[in-house]
């Protein structure tokens, strides 16, 4: 059944997407994929996912609405449709999530024409994997306290320092890099670069997460070289450009393609099913009103997020353009964390069985997923920082720091 508010062109595109996805849905990889793109470390997973993204791009499901000179497909108001269909088709995620989710909006907003024409197409096709070099070991949520230095020599910049939590750094061809050209100006002393990863001055060392997975890295910059033509924005404008990127990571950006795996509602439905399938103390956990009340409460919040997303686009009801979008990262990650805590509670002792245990429900998906929810509540601006942002930018309260 098609959405009745679509134009004929949109409806036709929606039908195309559905048919194409059904036809082209790839066979599962022989070894299970990690839960999210940022946990991929197996090269055979990379190949599989790169091919899938390239195919989707070719079919017009990525960069649908962008102009052709940037590698786009030149359609109008079709990206959202494509992204929705991808999300609900049960297909693999797009591996190049930093490229799509962060590099693309940054380049579109702040890049030169040459940068857009050079870098956008290989991002869409996943030919170039991107990573992000903002965080540093000493900085945490205080991004602007970064120390990596950029010194100009001729038409090149020499970069020294280290970056941390660099997802996909082990596969990436390019890094969105923030470095400091002026030590005496906290915000105005930062410049934004597109740094090629394949050079002797850059070393990548994996970090293991509490799940045991890797995917994050520490990146050491030891006289790394970046040409001045790879600078985004003016010298000293790095913080402003970065804010555009981060806003996008924080949920307010315009999507160029679906980045995530399972939708929150799909996970929610699995938890309801889990409660119906799990027996304890002689009954289904679903039949224990205490657990049912907890589950339904999170179901209620998951539904609310869904309709929040719709309401954000209704001017008369949204209470301001940024009020709802800026909540997305915070509520999404916290709801997901509660939901996973409940899933462990439903399983009880069975939740102790981890990935690779033959009796682990869904091959350990729930404890693994639970631990990974901390990526959501900590990285890309922790929940604490998100609440500052909301209080300050949306409600106009005094700055806390």
């Amino acid at each position: 059944m098609s959405d009745k508010t679509l134009t004929p062109e949109q409806a036709e595109f929606q039908d195309f997407c559905r048919a194409w996805l059904q036809e082209n849905k790839p066979a599962p990889h022989p070894t299970p994929l990690p839960q999210a793109a940022y946990e991929v470390t197996d090269p055979s997973h990379l190949t599989y996912l790169t091919e899938w993204q390239a195919k989707c791009y070719e079919a017009g499901l990525i960069a649908s609405d962008l102009p052709k000179q940037y590698g786009g497909h030149g359609m109008t108001d079709c990206q959202q449709i494509a992204s929705n269909e991808v999300r609900s088709a049960g297909v693999p995620y797009f591996i190049n999530w930093i490229g799509l989710g962060m590099a693309v909006p940054t380049l579109l907003e702040c890049g030169t024409e040459a940068q857009k024409e050079t870098f956008l197409p290989p991002i869409f096709s996943a030919e170039h994997i991107w990573c992000q070099g903002f965080s540093e070991p000493g900085a945490g949520s205080d991004l602007a306290s970064l120390q990596a230095s950029a010194v100009k020599e001729g038409d090149q910049w020499i970069i020294n320092g280290s970056k941390v939590w660099t997802s996909l750094g082990h596969f990436a061809q390019y890094m969105l890099l923030l470095a400091r050209q002026d030590k005496n100006d906290k915000y105005g002393g930062i410049t934004y670069f597109l740094a090629p990863m394949d050079q002797p001055g850059i070393t990548v060392k994996p970090i293991h997460k509490m799940t045991g997975e890797s995917g994050f890295n520490e990146v050491f910059l030891d006289n790394a070289i970046v040409g001045d033509h790879l600078r985004v924005g003016n010298v000293g404008d790095g913080w402003k450009v970065a804010m555009a990127t981060l806003t996008s990571e924080r949920g307010a950006g315009v999507g160029v393609g679906a980045v995530v795996g399972e939708s929150p509602m799909a996970v929610m439905q699995q938890v309801i099913q889990l409660a119906k399938d799990t027996r304890r103390n002689g009954q289904r956990v679903w039949d224990d009103p205490v657990w049912r009340d907890r589950i339904v409460k999170v179901y209620e919040r998951t539904e609310a997020s869904l309709y929040n997303g719709r309401r954000a686009r209704v001017k008369a009801l949204n209470g301001g353009a940024m009020r709802i979008p800026l909540q997305g990262k915070l509520t999404g990650s916290e709801i997901s964390q509660s939901l996973h805590q409940i899933a462990l509670g439903i399983l009880g002792l069975k939740s102790s069985l981890y990935v690779g245990d033959e009796h682990a429900p869904a091959n350990g998906k729930w404890p693994l997923g639970y631990m990974n929810t901390y990526t959501g509540t900590i990285s890309g601006g922790s929940s604490e920082i998100q609440r500052n942002i909301l209080g300050e930018r949306v409600l106009g309260l005094a700055k806390s720091k």
């Binding site: 609310a304 009801l317 209470g319």
Partner: protein, 375 residues
């Protein structure tokens, strides 16, 4: 999702909402309420609090046509749906207004489910300005269909209805009563001498509430025999959504009032909002309020456009609203500090209204139990 992307908030409805909001803003609703409360504060020695009914406000509401929004055109109304009614209910909540409009909207959606001439007649009378209130609850305040304590036999009503909101403002009562074949709904004139109204002394300053005893009262059936429960069940999503909308409006007021206070009040050389112990709970109020609002809009849209999904969406909305009411009442008072705890501050007026609304038509736990049956 087959509800419209704008939740059915089209230009007509947005204009209706704006008109009503502007009207209420000019009314200075809590200021108007204050004089009626003067001298009634002390719970031990205070004078009894009269039911506050700003008849002028009501008259203007009728002049604006708001009372007829949800009444079908065939009965002389404007014939709009739940989306429009929800827009009004949200504004009522935002201004904490004691108005019979709340119950009139609820009544309209009940009567629209009854295919009888008597129901149509009552809708017509309401279109002319008659006020209706609902007498549905038994003493335990449960909403399960058989919970009314009123009996109908030999053409007369006997027994008492509890928690009748705005009883002193209404002309007519819609009474749920046990009959031979289940529950039926009846029309009763409040002024009938066999109707005994005992006003409750309630916490909420913005509503009046009463027990209503029927001493062999003549009553006109509004539903076909044994169809009262069916009719109430069909209307329930509307009742839940409208109550949730009232809560959403009041929660938005609580959010904004608390944020405003945190900007002007200084402590330890900073505005209160500087402190994360204040800022973050206010953000949590916003998150709760936004979740409730989105679910309310969706519930209204579902009722009008996707009726099969109306019950689920309405339980979702009231589940969220009940919890939001409790949370926002709690945090708005706490974060206002001593000021919010005084009779003088409007914060307490909203606090009490929210704590009352929280339980109307079932609390969060009840909504979720009902929801679970649908999942």
């Amino acid at each position: 999702m087959t509800t419209p992307k704008d939740f059915g908030f089209d230009d007509d409805i947005n204009m209706l909402k704006d008109t009503y909001a502007k009207f209420l803003l000019e009314q200075k609703t809590t200021e108007s309420l204050r004089p009626s409360l003067k001298g009634t504060e002390d719970p031990y020695h205070g004078s009894p609090r009269p039911a506050y009914f700003d008849t002028q406000n009501w008259q203007k509401t009728v002049e604006l046509g708001m009372h007829a929004v949800a009444i079908p055109e065939a009965q002389g109304g404007i014939g709009m749906g739940l989306v429009a009614a929800t827009a009004l209910a949200e504004e009522i909540g935002r201004y904490a207004l004691p108005t019979p409009l709340s119950n009139n909207l609820l009544a309209a959606f009940i009567l629209r489910q009854a295919p009888t001439d008597s129901a149509k007649q009552l809708l017509e009378d309401m279109a002319s300005g008659l006020c209706a209130a609902l007498a549905l609850y038994g003493e335990d305040g449960s909403l399960e269909a058989d919970s009314t304590d009123v009996q109908f036999s030999d053409g007369k009503l006997l027994g008492s209805a509890w928690y009748v909101t705005d009883a002193q403002k209404c002309d007519v009562l819609i009474v749920a009563a046990q009959c031979q074949d289940g529950i039926d709904l009846f029309r009763v004139n409040r002024a009938d001498p066999t109707v005994e109204l005992s006003p409750d002394r309630i916490v909420d300053l913005t509503r009046d509430q009463a027990r209503v005893a029927f001493h062999a009262t003549d009553a006109e059936p509004l539903t076909e025999q044994g169809q009262g429960s069916r009719c109430l069940n069909l209307a329930l999503p509307a009742l839940l959504t409208l109550t949730a909308a009232d809560i959403a409006g009041a929660a938005e007021w609580q959010l904004q009032a608390t944020a405003d206070y945190a900007k002007v009040r200084h402590q330890f050389d900073h505005p209160l909002g500087f402190f994360q112990a204040v800022k973050h709970p206010i953000v949590d109020m916003m998150i709760a309020t936004d979740e409730t609002r989105s679910l309310v809009y969706q519930a209204a849209a579902a009722f009008d456009f996707d009726p099969d999904d109306a019950a689920r969406c309405a339980h979702l909305a009231k589940s969220s609203a009940s919890d939001t009411a409790e949370f926002c009442a709690n945090r708005s008072t706490q974060l206002h500090g001593g000021i919010g705890f005084t009779w003088e501050a409007d914060v307490q007026i909203y606090h009490k209204r929210q704590m009352h609304s929280q339980f109307m038509f079932g609390d969060g736990v009840w909504q979720r139990a009902k929801l679970a049956e649908l999942l």
